[in-house]
Amino acid sequence: MGLPDLAAAVPDPIISVEGLSKAFTGTQALDRVSFKVPRGAFFGCFGPNGAGKSTLLRILTGQLEPTAGGAKVLGYAPGTDTVPLKRNVGIVPESESPPSFLTGLEYLEFVCRLRGLSDSAARIRKWLEYFDMADKQDTLCKDMSKGTRQKIMLASAFIHRPPLLFLDEPFINLDPIYQRRVRDFLVDYVKSGGSIFMCSHILEVADKVCTDALIMDRGEVLAQGPIASFRTNGHDLADTFLDIIETRGAQRRAKPATS
C-alpha cells in the first residue's frame, strides 16, 4: 500500500483549544484550558491521576461535550462534526475493550468495513504481522490477554493511516519489546507527516519521542511548550514534571492559610 504524505491538506495548528472547561457533578475536570498543537507534532499531555487528561482527549475526539469553550481538530468541531472527525483520526482509548465476541482478525475486518477501506486484507495482514498476532487472530477478543487486546486496539487505530492519532496510555499492558516497536512506529509516523496527541504516565518514553508537551493538574494547564523547554538545568522531562506538580501542590496547600 502506498504511503501518501500525511501532512497534505491538514491545517496548522492541527488542534486548537480555547477556554475549554468541563464540570462533572461536584468536580471541575477541566478549567479554561487553552493550547495549540502544531501540525507534525508529537504532542504529549502529562499530569497526575485525575488531572483531566482523558477527559480532554475524550472532548477532542467528540466523545464528551465541554461545559464551556471550544476546540477545532483538523478543522472540525468535535461536538458537531463527530463522524467526519473520527473518519480522519485514530483513537486508542484508555481501557483496551474491543468487542467480546469477534476474533482479533474479525474486529480489524469490522473496523476496515466501517471505515470504508478497500484494501483491507493487506492492511490487516500488515498489522497482524507487525504485532506477531498470527497465532492469536482467531481468538475471541474477550479471551485475549490485556496486552493482546491493547495490540488489537492499536492496530485498529493505525490501520487507516490517519493524519492524526489520539493515544491514551498507548504503551500500557505492552511488554518492553512491543513498547519499543510501537514507539518506533510512532516516531516514523511523525517523520512521515503525521501528528500525535498522547496522554501518558511513562515520562521516560515521552521524553524521547515528544516534540511538544503540556502539563496539567486538577483540570488546569500548568505548563506548555516545546519539549526542549522542559529540559533545563540538566533536568529531564520527569524532573521538571515533578517540580511543577510539587510546586503547584505547595501553592495549593499554602493558599487556604493566606486567604
Binding site: 473518519r87 465476541f101 474479525e106 466501517l114 482467531d138 475471541l140 474477550k142 486496539m153
Partner: protein, 472 residues
C-alpha cells in the same frame, strides 16, 4: 451490592429519577384500585387474580436468570465497570456466596421497588373501593410468593443450563408440558402447579408452606449448581465476519453492524436464550388464553387478533436483551453514532422475532379455529411488535434496562405504548359483535402504529445523536 446497583442504575440519569420508578408504579396501582368496582364488573375477581399471578410468575421468570448473569459478569467486564459479583477472583470469598448475594439483592430490590409500591398504591385507593386493607396485605404477600417462585425457577433453570443443556431442555419442556396439562385438562389444577395462586384463592396454610419450601429448595439447588471455576477459557473461531456481512449486504451501510451483531448473538448463545425467553411467555399467553376461553365460561372471547396484539408487547424484552450482549465502548473510537447502532439493533430485532411471532400467531389461529382472521392478526402482531420495539428504542436508546427503571421514562413508555395496545385489545374483544366496525378500526390502528413506527424511527437520530457509547 445494593449500593452498587443503585449507583450503576442511576448513573445515566439522576438518583431522583431512579427512585421515581416506584412512585409511578404506585400511581398506576392507585388508578387500578380507584376503578376496582368497574374492573370487577367486567372481569370476575378470581380471573383478575389468576391473571395477575401469572403475570408475576412471568415477571419473575424473565428477571431471574442469575446464573447466566453472574457468569457473564465474571467472564467479561461491562466496559470500564467491574461488579462485586466478580470479587471471588481476587478476594477470599466463594462465587456461590456472591451469586446468592446477588440473587437476594435483586429479589429484595423487586420486593421493595416494584411489588411493595403496587400494594401501597392499592392501599391508598382503599377509601374509594370496597376491598379491605387486609386483602391488600394478603395480595401483597401472595404476589411476592408467586414472583419469588418465578425468580427461583429461572435461577434454577439457568444454573442447570450452564451444567447441562440437555437436562435444561428436558426440564423446560417438562415444565411447559405441566403448564399445558394444567391449562387443557382438569387433571392438574393451576393452584397445584403454582401453589401461591392456591394460597391466594383458597387462603390455606399448606399452599403457603409448599410455596416457601419450593422457593427455598429451588434457590438452594441453583446455588449448589453454580460452579466455582475462574479459569478463563480461550475460544477460537474461524473467520466468519465477511460471510455474514455479505449476507446482510442488502441493508447497505448497516451490513457491517448487522454482521457483528449477528455473530454476537450466535457466539454468546444469546440467540437460543432470547428465542427461549420470547417463546416461553408466548406459550404462557397461548395457554392462558385457551384456559380463559375454554374453562372459565366467561362471555368475552379472547381471539387471535387479541393474542396478536399481546405478542407484540413482548418485544420490549428482546430489544433489552440485544443491548446486554456486549460492551459498546470501542464504538467511541469509530466513525459511527449511537442512533446508527440503535437502528442496527432494531433491524436485528425484526429479523430475530418476525419468524417466532408469525409462528405463534398462526398456531393460535389454528387452536382457536380462526385461520381466516390471520389476514388481520398478522399485521396486528407485526405492527404492535415494530411499534413497541421502536418506541422502546426511541425512549431508552442502548440502555433499556436502566431507563425502564426510571420513573419519567417508564411513564412516557406507558403513555406511548399502553393506549394503542389497549385499543387493539378492546377492538378485538368486540370483533364478534361488530365485525365490520372492529375490523375497520383495527386496520386503522395498524396503519396508525405503522406511521408512528416510521416517525419514531426517524426521530431516534435527533434524540440520541449526542449520546456516548460509554456504559459508565
Amino acid at each position: 451490592m445494593v449500593r452498587e446497583e443503585s449507583r450503576f442504575q442511576s448513573n445515566f440519569t439522576s438518583k431522583l429519577s431512579f427512585y421515581e420508578f416506584p412512585f409511578i408504579l404506585a400511581l398506576f396501582a392507585f388508578a387500578a384500585g380507584y376503578f376496582y368496582e368497574e374492573l370487577i364488573a367486567t372481569t370476575p375477581l378470581p380471573q383478575l387474580l389468576v391473571t395477575l399471578h401469572f403475570s408475576m410468575l412471568l415477571y419473575g421468570l424473565s428477571t431471574g436468570a442469575f446464573a447466566f448473569l453472574g457468569k457473564e459478569l465474571v467472564d467479561r467486564r461491562f466496559g470500564n465497570v467491574n461488579f462485586l459479583i466478580a470479587a471471588p477472583s481476587t478476594l477470599p470469598i466463594r462465587f456461590k456466596t456472591t451469586t446468592s448475594a446477588f440473587y437476594l439483592k435483586d429479589a429484595g430490590y423487586y420486593f421493595l421497588f416494584t411489588l411493595t409500591p403496587i400494594a401501597a398504591g392499592l392501599a391508598l385507593a382503599k377509601p374509594f373501593s370496597s376491598y379491605t386493607y387486609a386483602s391488600v396485605l394478603y395480595l401483597w404477600l401472595s404476589v411476592i410468593l408467586t414472583f419469588s417462585l418465578g425468580l427461583a425457577l429461572a435461577y434454577a433453570f439457568s444454573a442447570v443450563y450452564l451444567r447441562s443443556r440437555r437436562l435444561f431442555i428436558a426440564l423446560a419442556l417438562g415444565f411447559i408440558g405441566l403448564l399445558a396439562l394444567s391449562s387443557f385438562t382438569a387433571f392438574l389444577p393451576v393452584g397445584w402447579l403454582v401453589p401461591s395462586i392456591q394460597f391466594q384463592l383458597a387462603k390455606d396454610a399448606l399452599s403457603l408452606i409448599v410455596t416457601v419450601a419450593l422457593v427455598v429448595v429451588l434457590s438452594w439447588g441453583a446455588t449448589v449448581l453454580v460452579e466455582e471455576t475462574f479459569e478463563s477459557t480461550e475460544s477460537e473461531f474461524q473467520e466468519n465476519f465477511l460471510d455474514r456481512q455479505r449476507r446482510f449486504a442488502r441493508f447497505g451501510g448497516y451490513a457491517p453492524l448487522l454482521a457483528k451483531e449477528w455473530i454476537d448473538l450466535e457466539r454468546s448463545h444469546a440467540l437460543t436464550k432470547m428465542a427461549f425467553s420470547f417463546a416461553v411467555p408466548l406459550v404462557f399467553l397461548s395457554l392462558s388464553i385457551w384456559f380463559l376461553n375454554n374453562t372459565l365460561g366467561i362471555a368475552l372471547r379472547f381471539d387471535t387478533v387479541f393474542y396478536a396484539g399481546n405478542v407484540g408487547f413482548f418485544g420490549v424484552m428482546i430489544y433489552s436483551w440485544l443491548n446486554h450482549i456486549d460492551i459498546t465502548e470501542y464504538y467511541d473510537t469509530l466513525p459511527i453514532t449511537v442512533p446508527r447502532l440503535i437502528k442496527a439493533k432494531l433491524i436485528i430485532f425484526f429479523l430475530v422475532t418476525a419468524g417466532i411471532t408469525a409462528f405463534f400467531v398462526v398456531l393460535m389461529a389454528f387452536i382457536n379455529q380462526e385461520v381466516w382472521k390471520l389476514a388481520l392478526a398478522l399485521p396486528v402482531a407485526f405492527s404492535t411488535s415494530a411499534y413497541t420495539a421502536v418506541a422502546t428504542a426511541y425512549l431508552t436508546g442502548l440502555r433499556t434496562n436502566t431507563y425502564l427503571l426510571n420513573g419519567p421514562v417508564i411513564a412516557r413508555f406507558a403513555i406511548v405504548t399502553v393506549p394503542p395496545l389497549l385499543a387493539v385489545a378492546f377492538l378485538s374483544l368486540g370483533y364478534d359483535l361488530f365485525p365490520a366496525l372492529a375490523m375497520s378500526w383495527i386496520a386503522l390502528m395498524v396503519a396508525g402504529m405503522a406511521l408512528l413506527t416510521v416517525l419514531l424511527f426517524a426521530l431516534i437520530d435527533g434524540k440520541w445523536v449526542k449520546a456516548t457509547f460509554q456504559r459508565a
